[in-house]
């Protein structure tokens, strides 16, 4: 369970470029919930996920994960609780390390790393079985460097890596945005499967309203650093994209929606 209480984040405080990116976000996300997050560019979606992961520390407010106050924890310390997949397929793995080395890195997430061989014992076999389940034929390429994989393959492996250390929270920041449509669909299906099989509490940022409604069980809309829409259950089931756009317009005080990124899908 994630509890977020009134968090604020300001970039470049005291400079001419000061940006109050999160302005009091309050949320409780129960264990196992799959939340989709939408909002126009600059709404604060990435900043919100970053504040959960520890990349940006909230200057005000409180974040608790499974009852532990992690507000002041940095990224490496939170990594045992939180796994993530980034938008840029290159960002989530080490291009010059092999697939199995990347997996070994992820498998040790949240543990103390000692001098035992990273790929010792029956580790390799375990990795092979896990990656075979992706159905991409990567089980024969464990010694290949990650950089040789396509963007979609890298995102698929990144998703798999997110499950190797048993953390219960998964943060996805537009993780299909850099992929072609067919590959994006594959990665989204994989996401759904992995979230279900591992019963992960998930936040998925997407630029597609369609995806936001089709996947998961709750949808948040962020605008100017605040949650302006939070729907789940029947209310959400009755929504379609035009409704969502209308709701969004209302939240903004009736202003027309001009942001292209919100109209896709």
């Amino acid at each position: 369970m994630i509890v977020v209480e009134d968090i604020h984040v300001t970039f470049g405080r005291g400079t001419p470029l000061e940006k109050h990116a999160l302005r009091g976000v309050d949320l409780t996300i129960p264990e196992g919930q799959f939340v989709t997050v939408i909002g126009s560019n600059g709404a604060g979606k990435s900043t919100f996920l970053g504040s959960l992961a520890g990349d940006v520390l909230a200057e005000q407010g409180r974040i608790a994960i499974d009852g532990t106050d992690v507000t002041r924890w940095d990224t490496p310390r939170r990594a045992g609780l939180v796994a993530r997949v980034f938008q840029d397929p290159m960002a989530g793995s080490c291009a010059t390390l092999t697939i199995e080395e990347n997996m070994a890195l992820a498998a040790a997430r949240g543990r103390r790393r000692g001098l035992a061989p990273a790929l010792g014992g029956d580790r390799r076999k375990g990795f092979r079985d896990r990656i075979a389940a992706l159905g991409l034929g990567l089980e024969n390429r464990l010694h290949d460097r990650m950089g040789l994989l396509s963007g979609g393959q890298r995102q698929a492996v990144s998703l798999l890596m997110a499950t190797l250390a048993g953390s219960k929270i998964l943060l996805l920041d537009e993780h299909t945005a850099a992929l072609d449509p067919a590959t994006a669909d594959f990665v989204l299906d994989l996401t759904r499967r992995i979230v279900r099989d591992n019963r992960l509490t998930t936040l998925m940022v997407t630029h597609s309203m369609r995806q936001a409604l089709d996947y998961g069980d709750r949808t948040l809309m962020l605008h100017e650093g605040r949650v302006v829409l939070d729907v789940a259950g029947e209310e959400r089931a009755g929504l379609d994209v035009p409704h969502l756009l209308a709701l969004f317009a209302k939240q903004r005080g009736g202003a027309e929606i001009s942001d292209d990124s919100l109209l896709i899908g």
């Binding site: 940095d74 045992g80 960002a91 890195l105 992820a106 040790a108 790393r113 990273a118």
Partner: protein, 298 residues
Amino acid sequence: MTEIALFGAIEIGLVYALVAIGVYLSFRILDFPDLTVDGSFPLGAAVCAVLLIAGVNPWLASLAAALAGAAAGLVTATLNVRFKILHLLASILTMIALFSVNLRVMGRPNVALLMQDTVLTPFYGLGIPDHIVRPLVVGVIVAAVVLLLARFLGSEFGLAMRATGVNARMARAQGVDTDAHVYAGIALSNALTGLAGALFAQTNGFADVTTGIGTIVVGLAAVIVGETVLPARALALALIGCVAGSILYRLAVQLALSADAIGLQASDLNLVTAVLVAVALILPRLKAKASRSTKAAR
């Protein structure tokens, strides 16, 4: 080239192989251009020489030299990680400071080791000529370092260190304390360099504050030569490449110096090495540019 000159080149190549491996750790694995080695090499030599003169066991003196090198590396890493000074500048600051420190350690610009026992002493009496004993002993030490380091870099901790150099953001997201790994890696790199300095002092019979000049360039040259002759992805092979590169570099230097026709003097070495490294750094860019323009032409 005489036999003595040949083995002399191999010996000095093996000593500097430890520098090359250190440079490989900082430049290649951690992506941290660290010039501290110009100071930590003579520091290792100075610490070892002074301790030998004080009657300390040569192995302990060599270990102390490595620890002194590690401490120098920690200073650079602290300036960079903790105080956000650009890595190059941080390492230059440490390097300059070490010049003074080394003078303090020795009390004068150079120290001769005449009658002192060294790690080599026990092996001199075995009936093998001295000029072969030296590269043999140093070679065994280098081999041990390569083995241990290959194992270390394949460990969970070592893998995290490599990830830190490749993609620090990803490493942090995987729970790696990247700062700690930079400290550890730069300390290890300079520990190896300090050990190289200690072996230099013991094989050559002196320590001199000026021996550090250009250490970084020689180390880089060895790494680059190694990568050229042994373009390997596997880590153990890359480390062996550093050793091979260092020896080949010294052999090439020896050949160039002994060929009177070229007219090179020992004092030209730094210039030649710098040009070699510069060319090696420029070539890949030119190649990339050439392949881009041929693609564009198609």
